[in-house]
Every structure is written in C-alpha cells, then in structure tokens.
C-alpha cells in the first residue's frame, strides 16, 4: 500500500525540505515509522521519549483524526493521505510574549 505522508512547514527542515513523502505501509504507525527511519531528526518532533505521539501533533488519515479511529493502528489503503498537523501559534509577528527571536 503506498500512502502519501504530508509534512507540515515547521517540520520540513527535518525532512530534507520535502512537503510529502510516499511510503509503503499498512497502518498509520507503519507509515510514520518509515518516515522517521528515513528522516531521523523528525523522531523527536513527532514522538515523546516514551514513544507516544506528541500531544501537539495530530495525525489524520484523509480528513479524519486518528485519535477517533484506531490511533496508530488505523489501517491505510493505497492512495490514502496521512497528514501530520502540528499546532502553530504565529499571528501578530515579532512582538508578543513568545520566546525572543534567535
């Protein structure tokens, strides 16, 4: 099963700037495993130390949140799109009480 994994802007830096990768997988978990095995730096952005998906990273199969399906065990079929959607906070820009710029 070939599925398309969509990589969001903030994480593209850790995936050789690609906006998506095609992977062979039967479940969402397998698709993400393949992704992080190809792009090791993504791992700490997607997973906590205990191996669970980080709570500010949501994963969707097509339009549906896997938290309401079978989580990482959610099956995927040929042509499905797996989207990684992290929270982003930008809005006003360089002000605010966000961490100072580097």
């Amino acid at each position: 099963m070939t599925v398309k994994v969509m990589i969001p802007t903030p994480l593209r830096a850790y995936a050789e700037k690609q906006d998506h990768v095609d992977v062979a997988a039967n479940t969402v978990g397998e698709a993400l495993d393949t992704l992080v095995s190809r792009h090791g730096e993504l791992r700490r952005h997607l997973y906590q130390d205990d191996g669970r998906l980080r709570s500010f990273v949501n994963v969707y199969v097509n339009n549906d949140d896997i938290r309401y399906l079978q989580k990482e065990a959610t099956p995927v079929k040929d042509g499905d799109t797996v989207s990684i959607v992290p929270s982003i906070a930008g809005g006003a820009g360089a002000g605010g009480n966000e961490p100072a710029s580097r």
Binding site: P8, T9, P10, A13, D19, R44, H45, R54, S55, F56, N58, Y60, N63, D64, D65, R67, Y68, S83, V85, P86, S87, I88, A89, G90, G91, A92, G93, A94, G95, G96, N97, E98, P99, A100, S101, R102
Partner: protein, 393 residues
C-alpha cells in the same frame, strides 16, 4: 434577568441605519444574504480582537469597514519598524506608537460610525473574563501559545465563540471554536509544544501576505457568525499552504475527554498559561550558560591581530543579509560538519542574537572543544556596539 433581556431587545429594536449608513453599506444591503436585517445585526454585534498585528490588521480593517458596531482591540505592544511588512493597519509614521491607539485612529477614519474600545494591556488570566464580558465573539489574532490557550479557556468558560487563525511562514490554519456543541482549541491540541521545539514567527519568519489571507478568513467567519448565514468553520480545521496555493480541510471533533469543555472537565477556572506552556519568568527560552565574549572584546582582540576563528551558525540566507566574514556552518549542520573545525584554534561562534550560537558552543564543548566563546548578543549586538554599518534584521 427578564427585565434585562427585555431592555436589551428594546435597545436592539431601536438600532436603525441612517441615510448615510444606508449609502455606505449599500453593497451589503442589496445582497439578500445581508440586507437591512443583516446590516443591523452587524451594527449590534460586539467583537473583541485579541492582537492588532498581522492577523489583527485585516480583521480590524474589514470588520470596521463592514460596520461591526462595537469593536474592542486588545494589545500591549508598540508599532515596530519590522511590523510594517505585514501589519497593514499601520503606517511608517506610526512606528513607536501604541498599536491600539494607531489602530483606533486608522479604523475610526475608515468608519467613524462604529464604537471602538481599546485595551492597552496584555491579555492575562486576571483580566480575560472581564474583558470578554461585553463581547459576543472573540477573535484570536495572537502570536503565542500561552495566549492562545488563555483565549480558548476563557471563551469556553464564558460561553463565547472563538474565531481562530494561526500562521507559520507560508502555512495557515483557521477554525471556529466554542460554537454550541462544537470543539474547542484544546479538543484539537490538548497541550502546547514545549518551548524551543517549534520555532516562533520571529525565528521562522512569515510571508507578509499570509496573515492578510488568514486574518481575512477570520473576518469572513466572524461576519457569517454575526449574520447567522452559511456554514462556519466550526468542526473543521482549514489548512492553507500559500506556496502550493492549496486549501485543505480536516474534520474536528469535540473531544469527550477535553479538560476544559469535556464531560469530566478538570479546568474550571483560568490557570497560569505561561507555566502551562512551560515558560517561566521573564525570558522564555532557557539559555545555556556558556563562555561569552562581548562584541567590544572581540573587536579589540581582532584589532590586536589575535588568531581567532569566527564561526557563523546562522543559515546561508541570513549570511547574505550581513556577516562578519565568519565560516558558515548552520547550527543544524554542525554535528556532521564538526570536522571542519580546528579545536587547537580559538573559536568565537555567533548567530543573530546569540541563542543559536550558545547552543553551538554548548555542543562543541561537549565534543571536546576547549577554546570556544559565544559572541554575546550576536551580530545584532555587533551592529549596536561595534559597527553600525552592519544591518540589523
């Protein structure tokens, strides 16, 4: 309570449009979806904008132009020169002014017939519920996680609608939270990322038009909610990729276990959102303690002819803006390019403001480098203290 409602209804019925307003809003009035009834709804509407920056600019301009009768603006900031690239409410002559004042002036000029209240304050757990009380719709145009969670929780606790928009570089998100029976922001993201893992706008940059698009979507959703027309983004997360010029949408569900709007809620009052987001004290990011050299000390040593190796850990596109003739190795590439460095030489690492290079120095010290310093304040401080010809960005 009944008397109050009756009074409110009487007041609402009394709202009419003047001849001038009928002309001003004529392109609304001739649309059946708005019409006289809709325009009066807009005139009676009470909308609070949190933030008058990138998202707040199109929001304020379009909502004022559309005739939203009562606008509140919350911002504590002053107009900065770097804001003008995207915060189109402000002009060059506004630099240094209080944002809420500059915005009030601009919006009043655009539409003198509406009431604009400004609150020059940071939104906090202490003032949020009070500020929200007089408004029906809260529009989140903020730029940081603590305020986003605060806006969410305060809207849920006060039963208000939260029109959400967020941007990063060339990607945007929008939704409507807190609609009856609909999800809230915490249903989508129960927790924020730990500080430092996700770059902020100031670090990552943002394409100036992007907040214009996402803020306009928020303005459109706000107006639809006021008119009670169309399908709102409640229950949907709109994703926008400006580079590919693609809109996608994802289904959002109300999370039954949501700590603030779920059945067994654990958050029943506002909390400390800085702490919740892992940010303590004044300075958010924990700074690594590493040996430092000030720009003046560095200049003196270079002038003496000392053999110092300047390591620039910024990105190549930043090097193009300005540089100190350093050897460029972006922080992210440092681990695999460490062999390019000679540990027998004295090394001074720098970046824009000194944070990335502090990480670089910490990393190199661990890798066994002994003679290494971080340029305090980065190239910004070099520009301030040594060479004003070096542009700041």
């Amino acid at each position: 309570m009944e008397t109050k409602t009756a009074t409110a209804e009487a007041a609402a019925a009394a709202v009419t449009l003047s001849k001038e307003e009928i002309l001003r809003y004529s392109r609304h009035l001739i649309m059946p979806e708005v019409g006289m009834e809709g325009q009066l709804k807009l005139k009676r509407a009470r909308v609070l904008l949190i933030g008058t920056g990138g998202l707040g600019a199109p929001l304020g301009l379009y909502l004022a132009a559309a005739g939203v009768g009562h606008l509140g603006l919350v911002d504590f900031d002053k107009v900065d020169f770097t804001n003008l690239q995207r915060q189109v409410t402000f002009g060059t002559s506004d630099v240094g002014r209080r944002k809420v004042e500059a915005a009030r002036e601009r919006l009043s000029n655009l539409n003198p017939g509406i009431e604009i209240k400004v609150f020059e304050t940071m939104l906090t757990s202490a003032n949020a519920l009070e500020l929200f009380r007089d408004y029906d719709i809260i529009v989140d145009g903020t730029d940081n996680f603590p305020t986003r969670y605060l806006v969410n929780d305060a809207t849920v606790l006060s039963g208000k609608i939260n029109v959400y928009g967020s941007i990063f570089r060339f990607e945007g998100q929008a939704s409507v939270f807190g609609a009856p029976g609909g999800p809230c922001y915490r249903c989508l993201y129960p927790e924020p990322p730990p500080p430092g893992l996700v770059p902020s706008c100031a670090e990552g940059g943002v394409l100036g038009v992007l907040p214009g698009i996402v803020g306009s979507i928020q303005a459109m959703e706000t107006i639809k909610l006021i008119l009670g027309t169309g399908d709102s983004l409640a229950g949907r997360l709109l994703l926008f990729d400006a580079l590919q010029m693609k809109f996608r949408e994802l289904k959002l569900r109300k999370n039954p276990d949501c700590p603030v709007c779920g059945e067994k809620r654990t958050i029943t009052k506002l909390i400390d959102y800085q702490e919740f987001c892992g940010i303590r004290g004044e300075e958010a990011a924990p700074t690594v303690s590493v040996p430092e050299i000030t720009p003046k000390e560095l200049k003196a040593r270079l002038d003496r002819g000392d053999d110092l190796f300047i390591l620039d850990v910024r990105e190549p596109h930043e090097y193009q803006i300005c540089h100190l003739h350093g050897h460029l190795i972006p922080l992210g590439d440092l681990p695999r390019r460490v062999s390019e460095l000679d540990s027998s030489r004295e090394i001074v690492a720098h970046c824009r403001s000194g944070k990335r290079s502090a990480d670089a120095v910490a990393f190199l010290k661990q890798a066994g480098f002994k003679k290494i310093w971080n340029l305090k304040g980065g190239i910004l401080a070099w520009s301030d203290e040594v060479d004003p010809k070096v542009p700041k960005y």
